[in-house]
Amino acid sequence: MLRSGGSELTITEFTAWFGKLKLDSQGEVQDCDLFDGNPEKLAELVVELQENSQAVPLKRTDLRDAAIECSFVELDEDYDVLLREVCIRAAKSQISRTDSDDSRIIQAVEALDDIDKNVNELSERLFEWYGRYFPELEMTGEELAGFVSAYGSRTNIPEGHELFEKASKSMGAELSFADEELLRAFANNICSLYDTRRYIENYINNSMGSVAPNLCEIAGASLGARLMSMAGSLEKLAAFPSSTVQVIGANRALFKHLRSKAPSPKHGIIFNNPVIKNAPWWQRGKLSRALASKISLAARTDFYSGELDQSIKDSLDKKLESIRQANPNPPKKKPHGKGGKRKSGGKNRSKKSGGKR
């Protein structure tokens, strides 16, 4: 470090978030010009300073000490509270300039579908593979993967384990050490895919609220995210007429996205909403029309204002209730029995295929 002979008065200027400081060569404050304590203004300054980085003297006073010394704040706590507020405001304003997008949610939804597809294939492979060594084990999917990853060979199952009996009497082939390691590693990967799947779901649930609060409120995080994904963006979803929203997802080409939760292809994915799924069949058409119209409204509100508007949900609830009241009993004929064909109801209805995940 240079110390100019005699003259101690090499002054450097340094602007801190709370004011302009003049520092001597030891970094001590000689003079300070404090900013106004209004958080909003300070946030603007902080952003500006960040964008035009200043030269920073390595020898400089501690900011907190200086702020207290110059009486910008009185106490440590005041410093923390104000700085935090300023920085949160600054970061929010920086973000809103760079990123207001729904695309990360869309990526996440698509990643979910990719994982589903892969995890199903891999699980089937594991089932078949491990089945050679322990055919009596009645597990599939995540349960199986967890089991294989935990125990490997059935000979590792400890006495007292509920499967011990089954394992020792199994007709399966013996598992060599090398094969066991391989199967375990494979199963481990499947487990982590399931974990990632939950992680992504969690992520979608957590972020929908900030990206599209109204859509999230009306359709639910997961359905809302899927609608955005299928429409292509929040903007496009907002631009669709509600009659289109009602059938989004019925299209065969889009349908592959849905694999895991495929509803009847006559209807869009909004049929996944419990409001409709759990309603008696004769109310579903009307309910889904009402829901679709509020979803459209919600998407528009999110896109144009971004603020949660409680009245959308209230009016949806009212509308749904009035539909339920007005249609308490099944009509005589099935509503979409085509032309002359008169079938007594229930043809497609009774087929409830297998369990949910």
């Binding site: 978030w17 960040q50 900011l63 700085l83 935090r84 920085c87 949160i88 970061a91 957590n206 972020s207």
Partner: protein, 231 residues
């Protein structure tokens, strides 16, 4: 339920003979990233998943963790705040400056900051400490997890600007973000060498261990600025 305090504010819970790493939940009732909440004796803990957090892994690999309830921390590469949230639990009277440069992740981090009074979010590039020198004070600890090729350099310049003379640097080095093919051991050695003598600030590496099985090909490291006695 047996509870053991491993370090200040870091606990090991014993639940049916399974050991669980946890911190005391500063905001009871809320889970930050889907982690489990566990109540005992009127205290709520949040499970700390070492596979999701380098610092968590470092605790389980028996590092000495230089954190106290009143520490000030600069955290580089905060992402959406998984680890930051646990540090926030630990620092009951402290403060974390959380730097992250991806606006998308910053969004989630801000939600966390909105709930917790001791996290200060900074959207900035850790390569440019000048861009946040007007905000960050001298800190007791710098924690860095940025997964960048120039990790050591980032650590060095930030320490130069912000680390208290006797403060600690904690670093997670990911070998694959430096070189995808070279052997991790070789990379780690080189990074340690750089920290010890590659920059105009020199470090003394106090502890270094790989973070497996929690994180493959990651090295955890604790260092202090090396001070030449006669200066």
């Amino acid at each position: 339920m047996p509870v053991k305090e491993l370090h200040s504010g870091i606990y090991e819970l014993d639940i049916d003979d399974r050991k669980i790493l946890a911190t005391k939940n500063m905001i009871p009732g809320t889970s930050v990233y889907g982690e489990r909440l566990i109540s005992d004796d009127g205290i709520e803990y949040r499970q700390w998943d070492p596979c999701r957090s380098k610092l968590g892994a470092m605790v389980l690999r028996n590092f000495d963790i230089p954190l106290d309830a009143d520490s000030t921390v600069l955290y580089l590469g905060a992402a959406s705040g998984t680890t930051v949230s646990h540090i926030s639990d630990i620092l009951m009277d402290g403060l974390i400056y959380a730097v992250e440069f991806s606006p998308r992740t910053m969004r989630d981090l801000i939600q966390l900051c909105d709930q917790r009074p001791n996290i200060i979010p900074i959207l900035a590039d850790a390569n440019k400490p000048q861009s946040y020198a007007h905000i960050v004070e001298k800190v007791d600890m710098i924690f860095q997890d940025v997964a960048q090729p120039n990790q050591a350099e980032i650590a060095a310049i930030n320490s130069k600007y912000f680390l208290e003379e006797h403060g600690h640097l904690m670093l997670s080095i990911k070998s694959r973000s430096i070189d995808t093919v070279a052997s991790p051991k070789k990379i780690f050695k080189e990074e340690v060498r750089k920290l010890e003598s590659g920059f105009d600030i020199e470090f003394e590496v106090l502890e270094r261990k790989e973070l497996d099985p929690f994180h493959e090909d990651h090295l955890g490291l604790v260092a202090q600025i090396f001070v030449d006695e006669e200066d």
